[in-house]
Structure formats: C-alpha cells, structure tokens
C-alpha cells in the first residue's frame, strides 16, 4: 500500500497566487487532517474531515479551504498566497473507531511564498 501520498513535494509561489495541495490515502480511512509545521513550532491543525462531504476548521484555518468529495482525497486550497503561509504541510489519516488509532502521515509539501 502507498499509504498517504502528497503532491507536490516542493512549490514556490508568488504572493497572491493560488494552488491546491493534493492528498490521497488508500487505507479507506474516514478521518483526514491537514497540519502545517513551522520551524520550532510543532504541527498545527488547519482543517479536518470525518468522512466524505464533511469538513471542519482546525486551529489555523485562515487563508485555506478544503473539500472532501471522496474517501480517498482531501485537497487543501490556498487562495491569495501570503508569506505567512510559507511552511511544510502534512496530510494525515486515521481509521474510525477511536482517537487512539494511529494517524498516518504523508511525506509533506514544502511551500515557499515569495
């Protein structure tokens, strides 16, 4: 199994541009998450989804949007990129049945906004 895959691995954006970070999992997990990792700050939750068609905001949602039309895919959209969105973005998924279940992480997307 591929697990959680993310594309692209790296991206440089200009201020005001938009892009979509792709995330796909092949484990049939209902729960999916987007985190951002800033240096020395750990990971913070941007958005999450508990199943297809259901999404909600996390701790730092401003400047982002998500959708979940299928169980497998959970894309993250950046509108009007700003330098503050320079970060490493991780997608994760876990099975239903309790928060004790392991979250599986993708390899990350490193985004720079100039």
């Amino acid at each position: 199994n591929a697990g959680v895959t993310q594309t692209p691995k790296f991206r440089i954006l200009k201020i005001g541009q938009s892009m979509t970070l792709q995330c796909t999992q092949d484990m049939n997990h209902n729960y999916m998450y987007w985190y951002r990792q800033d240096p020395g700050m750990g990971l913070k939750l941007i958005y999450y989804s508990v199943g297809a068609g259901i999404t909600d905001k996390g701790e730092v949602p401003n400047g982002y949007n998500v959708s979940r039309s299928t169980t497998e895919d959970f894309p993250l959209r950046l509108e009007l990129a700003a330098p503050s969105q320079t970060s490493v973005y991780f997608c994760a998924s876990r099975a239903s049945g309790g928060a004790v279940n392991e979250q599986f992480f993708g390899p990350g997307t490193r985004l720079t906004v100039l």
Binding site: V100, Q103, G108
Partner: protein
C-alpha cells in the same frame, strides 16, 4: 485546553549512551499520548502510544515511554542510542472533541555524536 510541552529543544548524546526525552501534557481526563519521529525531509512515523493499561509502553526501534499521571509526563527513553536515531521527536496528545486531531509539542531535535 490540551497542551504538550517538550522542554528540550535540542539534545546531543554520544552513540551508545542512554537517552531520555521529556514530555509534559495538560489534559483533564486520561490522555491518549503518542511519540512520533521525523527524519530530515520526511513525514512523521509513530514510535509508540499510550491510551490505558500498563504505564510502560514499548515501541519500535527499541524505544519505550512511561506514563506518569502524577507528573503529567510521558518521557521517551532508549537504553543505547544509534547514529540512525538522529532526528526530531514529537510528543502529542489527542485533542478534545470528536475530531481526534493531535496536539503536538514543539519537538526535540536529537543529535548523535560518534
């Protein structure tokens, strides 16, 4: 609100020496606790987790952690460090609510001297 504190930003140990990484959490009920490891440029890999039962938890790669409720701690240990253990280590607790996201500490970077 739930929180995780990792007091040590950077630790250097000699290869073969023992290791202890500290983690303190803030959570009202019995927490679900995790340790993840992140190698440079990689995603996060689960080392071990605690949710109930025996307070000494064994993980992968020879790591273990001990849950101490009285000290609100979940310290990670390894008796003999290998050069390949050099990485960043994150302690996390499951947040409240139904979304089951992880709340991360800021991480501890481990360097290993030959």
């Amino acid at each position: 609100a739930q929180s995780v504190t990792q007091p040590d930003i950077h630790i250097t140990v000699s290869e073969g020496a023992s290791l202890e990484l500290r983690c303190n959490y803030s959570y009202g009920a019995t927490p679900y606790l995790f340790w993840y490891v992140q190698s440079p440029g990689q995603g996060l890999q689960l080392l071990l987790k605690y949710f109930s039962g025996d307070t000494l938890v064994q993980g992968i790669k020879g790591f273990e952690a001990e849950f101490k409720r009285s000290q609100s701690s979940f310290n990670l240990r390894k008796p003999s460090v290998h050069w390949s253990d050099a990485a960043e280590y994150f302690c996390a607790v499951v947040g409240g609510g139904s979304q089951g996201n992880l709340i991360f500490g800021k991480g501890t970077k481990l360097s290993v001297k030959p």
